[in-house]
């Protein structure tokens, strides 16, 4: 239970901090959310900078363009990125945080050698084609069909909620390769290039008003068999590897950034004045913010603990569900407090007078999605109940 950093870890932190201090200020501000081309350029441009400086893929092997450093250094990286207010991972989310890691863990040598360096260099953007209209929480019920035809799978189906589909080069595509088998045993995990014929992307406005995700229609899309990760019909196991990364480590940088958000709330509270006192002078607000900040510190300690426990296996354990649930809870309460703080200034979604309405409202909306995306809160609770606490399984229809 040792929180001290080794000399090497400390050196890494100092180097990275110095590099960020020189690079972040000049990189400019993020483009508006609805201009996808600019967003892609901004996010991948930053990824390329990280890559060139040797800060992409912190714990991935050097031969694939990574840094070959430890998971602890990965955590240090998240801390420093947050401290420096560096650009968000953005469109690189899927590729760097769960698609790439899945290829690292389960892909062939050729798949790794091709994709990993390009993901790290910001040359490949990924999206996730898991959910379907009929298969959300019950993901294994997916129906997108893949039929073998020579060296290709011919794929027909309908994916939904596909974030970043508009700008992605590749998709984590789950398909049904054996419709006769029990549902968990007829799935395969494919790498789908997004420029193939037969892919139709239709943006779906979110409650935020922008097209964060899309529907993706697939008609006779020919995906090479060589693009499969893992064995045919073994896709459910591979999917669980992807989900462990998605639930376990993918949100780590969002978590650490919440402390900075709390500081923004304090700044805002100091700007809300009446009769010579500010909202920040209000003891109950100070307590609420102090309480949340204390929980955030424990949340980050929880991430450290789960990362250190995953050191041997390299894949986050089922305990990741607890981290995601705790994060979701704190994130939602924090941003709700931020909206309460705004009062009527929060009726505007752009900054209003001296108050950061834009940031606060957007974070509040984003927080709401966190209990839905990557497995809903209810599903995470089922997982903890059954796989950790050993409670009886949900009733399932007879196979």
């Amino acid at each position: 239970m040792d929180l001290r950093y080794t000399a090497e870890e400390q050196k890494f932190r100092n180097q990275l901090a110095a590099w960020l201090a020189s690079e972040v200020p000049g990189y400019g501000t993020p483009p508006p959310v609805d201009s996808w081309d600019e967003r892609r350029a901004y996010d991948t441009g930053w990824q390329k900078k990280l890559f060139d400086a040797g800060y992409a893929g912190i714990n991935w092997p050097k031969e694939y363009g990574g840094r070959d450093a430890s998971l602890v250094e990965q955590l240090i990286y998240f801390e420093e990125i947050a401290k420096a207010n560096a650009p968000y991972v953005g469109v690189n989310f899927v590729g760097t945080l769960h698609g790439g890691p899945t290829i690292m863990a389960e892909g062939t040598e050729a798949q790794r050698a091709f994709h990993i360096p390009r993901i790290l260099a910001g040359e490949e953007v990924w999206c996730q084609g898991f959910s379907e209209p009929v298969a959300g929480s019950d993901l294994a019920g997916l129906q997108t069909r893949a039929e073998r035809d020579g060296d290709d799978y011919v794929v027909n189906g309908h994916k939904i909620w596909t974030s970043f589909a508009q700008v992605a080069d590749y998709c984590e595509m789950l398909v049904r390769t054996d419709p006769e088998a029990p549902k968990h045993r007829g799935i395969s995990w494919l790498i789908m290039p997004m420029d193939l014929d037969g892919i139709d992307i239709r943006p779906l406005p979110t409650l935020e008003g922008e097209g964060e995700f899309s529907e993706v229609f697939l008609e006779d899309v020919r995906i090479p068999v060589a693009n499969r990760i893992g064995e045919e019909n073994d896709g459910w196991r591979v999917t669980n590897v992807t989900l462990r990364f998605e639930r376990g480590t993918a949100f780590a940088s969002d978590m650490i950034q919440l402390q900075a958000f709390v500081q923004r709330m304090i700044e805002a509270a100091k700007n809300i004045t009446s009769d010579g006192t500010t909202a920040w002078d209000d003891k109950s607000l100070r307590r609420e913010i102090g309480h949340i900040s204390g929980e955030l510190e424990s949340l980050w300690a929880m991430v450290k603990l789960s990362v250190c426990e995953a050191k041997e296996s390299g894949v986050p354990g089922v305990g990741a569900s607890a981290v995601k649930l705790y994060y979701t809870d704190i994130y939602q309460r924090t941003t709700e407090l931020a909206v309460r703080l705004l009062g009527r200034a929060g009726l505007s979604r752009s900054d209003f007078l001296d108050l950061p309405s834009h940031l606060f409202i957007n974070r509040h909306f984003n927080a709401i999605s966190v209990s839905i995306a990557a497995g809903t809160t209810q599903i995470q609770k089922n997982i903890i109940g059954e796989r950790i606490l050993g409670l009886p399984k949900e009733l399932r229809p007879p196979a």
Partner: protein
């Protein structure tokens, strides 16, 4: 950095756990209640196991372990609902002769916090020494010199309390800094106990949820119950992270702000202990409302702990002050 408990620490946890399960079976509780939460032979057993001497240097007769080890032991004490002034006696090791060996039972009262609380003394009748934490320093008071009335109806039947209007002047044995440090360490130790309470409450409720049948199946198979238990698990893990973080930061104060780490732990573990105790009772249904089922002990002890070395509210205000200086 390796935040995981070491193999030695895991072994320590297992050792203490099985020792306590053997020595303090829950059917010993009625007897403990009769003796008002204090049993000299149990105290001796705890001392022998090293609960009080754990962090005292070896050349002073202690075991020479760190805060991380202490937090693991205190979590086990909480999990087993061990009563008595365990945190105070541990803190007094090295300061009061005989505390480390259990021959002298040390309790205390914390008068540093900003709340205008009445002077409520725990376990007074069992104490040989009372430590008083004041902003100016640590005072040593002879419990026999205190005029106090026993409160006949303590919240926790294993934590007897007295009320004193004033305390006699004692001997100053530590300065302001020592008092502040003892309070900080006390809060960290209590966060360990709170982690244990959160764990114990979950363990009890989880076992019951598997065994109790309604509508032809174990109640733990109903999602409404399963999800309560999953929430308890999250609270338990949050408490663990918070308490370990406080302990590891006390062991290496150069890595982070110790006050912030300890206050975070007291908030997180405090909330977890109370929440899990309450949910644990709910999972037991009517049985949870009986004296016979242990669930209520966790709740009562959780409230005792909440009011030791600073409440959640006080620690939240402390964090707010720290955040303010960060700008």
């Amino acid at each position: 950095m390796d935040f995981q408990p070491t193999e030695d620490q895991k072994a320590l946890r297992e050792g203490v756990r099985s020792f306590l399960e053997g020595q303090v079976p829950f059917d010993r509780f009625p007897a403990l209640e009769k003796s008002k939460g204090f049993d000299a032979s149990l105290w001796g057993e705890l001392a022998e196991m090293g609960v009080f001497a754990l962090r005292l240097a070896e050349d002073e007769g202690g075991i020479g372990l760190g805060f991380a080890d202490a937090i693991i032991v205190f979590a086990e004490l909480g999990r087993r609902l061990i009563p008595g002034p365990i945190a105070w006696s541990h803190l007094a090791a090295g300061l009061i002769d005989g505390a480390a060996t259990g021959e002298v039972v040390v309790g205390g009262v914390d008068l540093i916090g900003p709340r205008p609380d009445p002077i409520v003394l725990e376990h007074l009748d069992s104490l040989d020494v009372l430590l008083v934490l004041r902003p100016e320093g640590i005072e040593r008071v002879n419990p026999r010199d205190i005029e106090a009335t026993e409160i006949e109806t303590p919240l926790d039947s294993l934590t007897p309390v007295h009320h004193a209007l004033t305390l006699p002047a004692g001997e100053m044995i530590g300065d302001a800094a020592a008092a502040a440090q003892m309070r900080l360490e006390g809060a960290a130790l209590v966060s360990g106990i709170q982690l244990g309470l959160a764990e114990g409450a979950l363990e009890l409720a989880n076992a019951y949820a598997k065994e109790r049948q309604q509508f032809g199946r174990p109640i733990g198979g109903f999602q409404a119950v399963k999800h309560l238990l999953a929430e308890m698990f999250v609270k338990q893990e949050a408490a663990r992270a918070g308490a370990y973080n406080a302990a590891a930061t006390l062991d290496a104060p150069e890595v982070a702000n110790v006050q912030r780490a300890v206050s975070s732990a007291k908030i997180t573990a405090g909330e977890s202990a109370i929440r899990n105790a309450r949910t644990g009772i709910q999972v037991h249904g009517g049985m949870g409302f009986t004296w016979e089922v242990l669930a209520h002990y966790y709740l009562k002890r959780a409230w005792v702990c909440e009011n030791l070395f600073g409440t959640q509210d006080e620690h939240a205000e402390k964090i707010a002050e720290i955040l303010e200086t960060l700008g």
